[in-house]
């Protein structure tokens, strides 16, 4: 099985009175297992000619659900400072948060709700991907 690692480094010299240096690495495994995630969409890059509303980028129907350890990556690859991507969950488009240019997110995904995005302007560039587990053990 594949071996995939995800590392986050959070650094700041001045957001607290002491420097922040946090580095954590996760090996991406199937739910409740030491077996690595075995599926990957690749990194999808899309430039949207028009502003988007509730555009589906991760379809729950494509994935095993509930007892899963899928991971979703999304980045607002636009430039400037103002053109944001809104990340939403499910058919009711529950608001998670906004990714401003350069912002990325990485989160667990259990395959029960779609992941949708809105974009605030024309010509915005977004990249996204899913690391997932197949039904095979």
């Amino acid at each position: 099985m594949a071996t995939t690692t995800a590392t986050i480094n959070l650094t700041s010299p001045d957001i607290t009175g002491d420097p922040l240096n946090l580095s954590k690495t996760a090996t991406l495994t199937k739910a409740g297992s030491n077996t690595g995630l075995d599926q990957f969409t690749g990194i999808t890059t899309v430039v949207y000619a028009a502003a988007q509303t509730a555009t589906n980028i991760v379809a729950a129907a494509a994935y095993a659900d509930t007892t899963t350890a899928h991971k979703v990556y999304i980045k607002n690859s636009s430039t400037g400072t103002s053109d944001f991507v809104t990340v939403e969950l499910g058919g009711s488009n529950v608001f998670m948060g906004r990714l401003y240019p350069g912002d990325w997110c990485f989160f667990p995904y259990d395959g029960t709700l779609d992941v949708d995005i809105d974009t605030s302007a024309v010509g915005m560039k977004v990249e996204y991907a899913v690391f997932s587990q197949s039904a095979a053990s």
Binding site: T7, I8, I15, T27, A69, H70, K71, F95, R98
Partner: protein, 136 residues
């Protein structure tokens, strides 16, 4: 204002037919601005002696909302392979399960609590919020 950087490194020698290596760095700024996020909770570490149901780890009432660029970090610091943390937005909107060692980093709009549910005893977690004040 503070300068905070979040870097993501994804690597795999074998999840595709060729090696995969990706690094992305973001400087955490206020919404629509080049000014850095100016608030941080610190990293909170907890060990839950009993299983938790919809325990609030990020309360929306504390933060300004909507036009914001807050970020939430959560990690399951437990050991083993099975003791997961179910992460939800208020209203039982499931984000996903963090298995031991897994972490997440998401944008946070400040409109819903972030909650966790655990199914085992002695599950350990750490979490933090980088946020923007109302001061420009």
């Amino acid at each position: 204002m503070a300068t905070t950087t979040a870097t993501l490194i994804l690597t795999s020698p074998d999840i595709t037919g060729h090696s995969f290596n990706m690094t992305q760095s973001a400087t955490l700024t206020k919404a629509g601005s080049s000014t850095g996020l100016d608030e941080f909770t610190g990293v909170t570490s907890r060990k839950y002696t009993s299983a938790q149901t919809d325990t609030v780890v990020v309360a929306d009432s504390i933060y300004v909302d909507t036009t914001v660029a807050h970020k939430v970090y959560i990690r399951n610091t437990s050991t083993g392979a099975s003791d997961y943390i179910l992460v939800e937005l208020e209203g039982n909107v499931i984000i996903g399960r963090l298995y031991p060692g897994d972490w997440m980093f998401i944008p946070y709009g400040g409109t819903l609590d972030v909650q966790v549910t655990t199914v085992a005893t002695n599950v350990s977690i750490e979490y933090g919020v980088f946020s923007q004040s109302v001061v420009s």
